[in-house]
Every structure is written in structure tokens, then in C-alpha cells.
């Protein structure tokens, strides 16, 4: 526990030791809020809810979470510091967890910093707070699942660009599978309904959308948690040489 905490602390503070962390936070805040207002037509909906904001979240995560996750292991491998890390008295599992939790906490800070959005909604209207909170919970869980994929791809290479591209591709597939436009396309191409439904079960969007509507089920939460656990488990295996 102690070593997980030590790695967490180093890694989390690490985001703020370089400009990368600040750039991420600014881009994240500008894109989430900007897209909601300008592309999402926040005012036109005439609806005091965060639905528009949440619609864009998986798509923004698609690019920004790999940007946070790509360095997790690739950088350690490139600079050789993983030799330092893995000759200290800690297990690979502890190291993987510590790093993952730090990245997750960092992204969560970004997500929570969008608090101005619900406050604006509350100022303009009278939102139902249930979906607002469950959406945030879903967003944070989804970010964790995204990040676990990035952590895994990052451990496969010492090149951060490869790691980034690889994780964007995997995450893109997992987002697309549940996107209604994509499902309609598959159905139009005469894919059987059971297959399209089955595949969409593996999508982030399929499990995120109920939470946006205020429906928190164990099934959806388990999806994110088990996906995360599975990726981190494989992550540990790839690092144990």
C-alpha cells in the first residue's frame, strides 16, 4: 500500500512538473465546455440538463485520455527508469496500480474542474441533480476504463506515438460499437440484429448513456470496472518479463 501511494504521489505530481499536465487540463476544459456550447447548441435545446455535455465526453476522452496514458510505461521504458523501478522492493502489480491510479486521479481532476457547467445549468434553470451526479460518476468510471487500455498499450512499446495511436484505435472501436449512427450503418449492411446488439454491449457509450439519464446499474459499473481490471491484469503480465 505504502509503495502504491509513493508511486501514485510521484506520478500524480509529475503531471504538474511539466507543462503537459496544464496543457491537458486547459484543452480538456475548453473542448468539453466549448463543444457543449457551440457544437451542442446548449441554448437551443432549452433544457436545464447536462445531457449535451455528456454526449461529447466519450469522443473527447478518445483523444485526451490516450494523451495522458501514452507516457505511463512507454516513457519509463524509453528512459530506462523502469529498471530503477523494478529493482526497488515493490511488485509489478503495485507499480501498475500506482501509476494507473495517478493518471486516473489526474483525469478525474480535469472532469471535476468542469463544475462550472452544472453550476451554469443550475443558474439558468432547475436541473435534476440525479443525472448530473450519475453522469459524473459514469464519466469518471469510463475515463478509468479508457486509461486502463492506454496503460496496457503503453507497456507494449517504448514509443509514445505508437502507444497513442494504438490506444486511440482500440478506444475508437469501443466507442463506435455503441454509437447509434454506427449501429444503423451495420444494420443497413444487413448484419444480423443479434450481432449488432451483442457488439454494442462492448461499447463505452452503451454503458455510459444510462448513467447520463440517471440510471446507475451494477451491470454498467461492472462493465467499466471489469474492463479496467482485465486491461491492468494483462498490463502486469506484459511487464513481468
Amino acid at each position: 500500500m505504502q509503495s502504491i501511494l509513493a508511486i501514485f504521489k510521484r506520478e500524480f505530481m509529475g503531471y504538474f512538473r511539466s507543462p503537459v499536465g496544464y496543457v491537458f487540463l486547459i484543452v480538456f476544459l475548453v473542448s468539453t465546455i466549448g463543444l457543449t456550447w457551440f457544437l451542442g447548441g446548449f441554448f437551443d435545446t432549452n433544457d436545464a440538463s447536462m445531457a449535451r455535455f455528456y454526449t461529447f465526453l466519450p469522443w473527447i476522452f478518445l483523444f485526451l485520455v490516450p494523451a495522458v496514458g501514452m507516457r505511463l510505461w512507454a516513457e519509463e521504458k524509453k528512459s530506462g527508469t523502469w529498471e530503477l523501478l523494478f529493482t526497488l522492493p515493490i511488485s509489478v502489480t503495485q507499480a501498475v496500480f500506482g501509476k494507473f491510479l495517478a493518471g486516473w486521479a489526474f483525469i478525474s481532476v480535469g472532469i471535476l474542474l468542469t463544475f462550472s457547467m452544472p453550476m451554469t445549468v443550475a443558474y439558468l434553470g432547475d436541473p435534476d441533480w440525479g443525472p448530473v451526479f450519475s453522469g459524473y460518476l459514469g464519466g469518471i468510471l469510463m475515463a478509468g476504463a479508457f486509461l486502463s487500455i492506454c496503460s496496457l498499450t503503453s507497456s507494449l512499446t517504448e514509443n509514445q506515438v505508437i502507444s497513442f495511436v494504438l490506444s486511440v484505435v482500440i478506444c475508437l472501436i469501443l466507442v463506435l460499437l455503441g454509437w447509434s449512427v454506427f449501429s444503423d450503418l451495420m444494420l443497413a449492411a444487413h448484419f444480423p440484429v443479434w450481432l449488432v446488439d451483442g457488439l454494442s454491449n462492448f461499447s463505452f457509450i452503451t454503458h455510459f448513456n444510462p448513467m447520463v439519464r440517471g440510471l446507475v446499474t451494477l451491470r454498467d459499473m461492472l462493465f467499466f470496472v471489469s474492463l479496467g481490471a482485465f486491461c491492468l491484469f494483462v498490463n502486469v503480465l506484459t511487464l513481468e518479463r
Binding site: 527508469t81 526497488l88 522492493p89
Partner: protein, 306 residues
């Protein structure tokens, strides 16, 4: 302290390390020598648990690095090749992180240990500067400081003086020697002067196997001119001297080089006194006598050039 048993490492079809076995006790400073690519670093990486051996194992303080990695890793400090460090941290932050990782939580212990290694490695002046802005010498010292932070019983260092200037090299050697008495130290290098000045034991490996494991003195004994004596002549004909040298039982080969004769003893015996006596009694026209220089480098070359 460190026991290495039949370590083997294959990378694909290439055998990088081939059945290496040795033991290291407290007080030993073992120099690990070998040409580049001989398997020094790979062996060290297996001892420290960074690489999994194909066969065999290593134990540190009785703990098997494969079975009980955490217990074993607590006992040694390791300085990897090229001293990788978290560049964006300052030495103070970095050492704090290492203290956390080593479970040195107690505030007093923590500060005491960090202060101690900063003093030993002369890092006080740069403690707040990001490591990436430091010179190579300072970075190496930060690496050294991290390795000795928990005052380990064993110290494993992969080319600790590589890339340093002569003064820094000297400084690092002094540092290592000063810690020798109560630790077991394993260091690799390809600088022979270094092992000669620091180590009390040398292992030479080539193509993954140990080809010599002995003290520097024993290694020197392998030199074809060990204990040979050079007689400096003054434009004299060396014929008479050569003949009387041949009559001496202890002298084997006599080599003639420009303006000197080199008498090589049989079995590496010390023939200095004998030759001095003979020279005096037979009135040899020599202007000087000295021992042939025996450089480990030449022994190393002979052993590793197969």
C-alpha cells in the same frame, strides 16, 4: 551475501549468459570485467531481478530473487547502466521518492538518510535543481545516492564511472572504496585501472562465461612477464650476461630488447634479489634494474581474445 548459481539467459537463439556461478561476501569488492556484450549487464539485471533468467537463480542475503523478490530487493542498492533517473524531479524529490519506496517513513530517519547520502555524494548545492539540468557527474552521484540511501548490505553497480571525467572518476572510486568494509560490492567496468585500484577480486567474463575468478594479484601472475626483471645495458654486448642468466635455474626465458635484457622467471618466482646478487658478484655492466611492468590490460587481452 550474493550467491549466483548457474545463471543462464537466452535472447532468442543467442545465449547471452552461460552458466555463471559465483559468490560474494561482505567486504568483497568484486570487479566484473569483460568486453562489451560479454554479458555483464545481463548478469547484473538478473541478480537484481529486473530480468528473469532462463535457468539458474541468484540469492541476495539468502533470499531467492525469483521466489522472494521483495525481501531480496530490500537488501541491495542498484545503480543501473547509464544511471537512468526521473529527469523532471530534483535530487531532493527523487531521494524522497526512493525513501518512500523503501519504506523509510519515519520523518527523522528519512531526513537523516537523505542528508547523509547528500553529504557523501556532495549534492547539497544542487538539491533543488531538476535532474535534467545537472551535469553527467552530478547525475551519476544522484544515482549513487539513491543506491545507498537505505545503507544496503550489498551494492550492485553497472559501470559506475562510465562517462565521467578523470576527477569525477577518482571521486566515485574513492566513494566506493570508502564504503567497502561493511558491504559486499559488485561493480562492472571495462576500465582496468579501476579494478586494480578498488577491487580485491576480479571476474572476467567473455561470451557469457566466466573465464577467470581471482584476486588482481593472481590475475597478474598469469601475465607472461610476471615478476620479470629488466636489465638496462649501456651499449654493451649482452652476450656474457645472457649466458650467466641462462645458468641460473630460476630464470626461464631471456628476451633481448633494445638496450635491455628481460629475464623471465620460471613459475613467476621473485628473482629480483637473486639477479641483484649475481650482477654484483659477476660485475655485470648494467646501468639499471627494474621489474617489468605487468599490466592487467594485457592479461585481459590475452584472456578475452580467443
Amino acid at each position: 551475501m550474493i550467491e549466483v548459481e548457474n545463471l543462464v539467459k537466452d535472447f532468442g537463439s543467442i545465449r547471452a549468459v552461460d552458466h555463471i556461478t559465483f559468490e560474494l561476501k561482505k567486504g568483497d569488492i568484486l570487479g566484473f570485467l569483460g568486453p562489451n556484450g560479454a554479458g555483464k549487464s545481463t548478469t547484473m539485471k538478473m541478480i537484481t531481478g529486473f530480468l528473469q533468467p532462463t535457468l539458474g537463480t541468484a540469492r541476495v542475503g539468502g533470499h531467492d530473487i525469483q521466489q522472494e523478490p521483495i525481501a531480496a530487493k530490500k537488501l541491495f542498492g542498484y545503480l543501473p547502466e547509464n544511471g537512468p533517473l526521473y529527469q523532471e524531479m530534483t535530487p531532493l524529490e527523487f531521494l524522497g521518492f526512493i525513501a518512500d519506496m523503501r519504506g523509510i517513513n519515519n520523518r527523522v530517519d528519512r531526513e537523516k538518510n537523505i542528508r547523509r547520502v547528500m553529504e557523501i555524494c556532495h549534492l547539497e548545492n544542487v538539491r533543488h535543481q531538476p535532474i535534467e539540468t545537472l551535469s553527467k557527474g552530478y547525475r551519476q552521484r544522484v544515482g549513487m545516492a539513491h543506491a545507498i540511501l537505505h545503507d544496503p548490505q550489498c551494492l550492485i553497480m553497472d559501470e559506475p564511472t562510465d562517462g565521467l571525467d578523470p576527477n569525477q572518476k577518482q571521486e566515485v572510486r574513492r566513494l566506493i572504496s570508502s564504503m567497502a568494509s561493511d558491504k559486499a560490492i559488485l561493480l562492472s567496468t571495462h576500465i582496468l585501472d579501476e579494478v586494480e585500484s578498488m577491487c580485491n577480486r576480479i571476474i572476467i567474463i567473455a561470451e557469457g562465461s566466466i573465464i577467470a575468478d581471482e584476486s588482481p594479484d593472481d590475475l597478474r601472475r598469469r601475465h607472461p612477464r610476471f615478476n620479470a626483471v629488466e636489465l638496462l645495458l649501456n651499449n654493451e654486448d649482452p652476450q656474457t650476461i645472457r649466458e650467466s642468466l641462462r645458468r641460473l635455474d630460476k630464470v626461464g626465458e631471456v628476451i633481448e630488447e633494445e638496450e635491455k635484457l628481460i629475464a623471465v622467471p620460471i613459475n613467476g618466482e621473485d628473482i629480483n634479489a637473486l639477479l641483484f646478487e649475481t650482477a654484483r658478484s659477476e660485475n655485470w655492466p648494467v646501468v639499471g634494474m627494474n621489474k617489468s611492468s605487468v599490466r592487467l590490460e594485457e592479461v585481459f587481452r590475452d584472456l578475452t581474445q580467443i
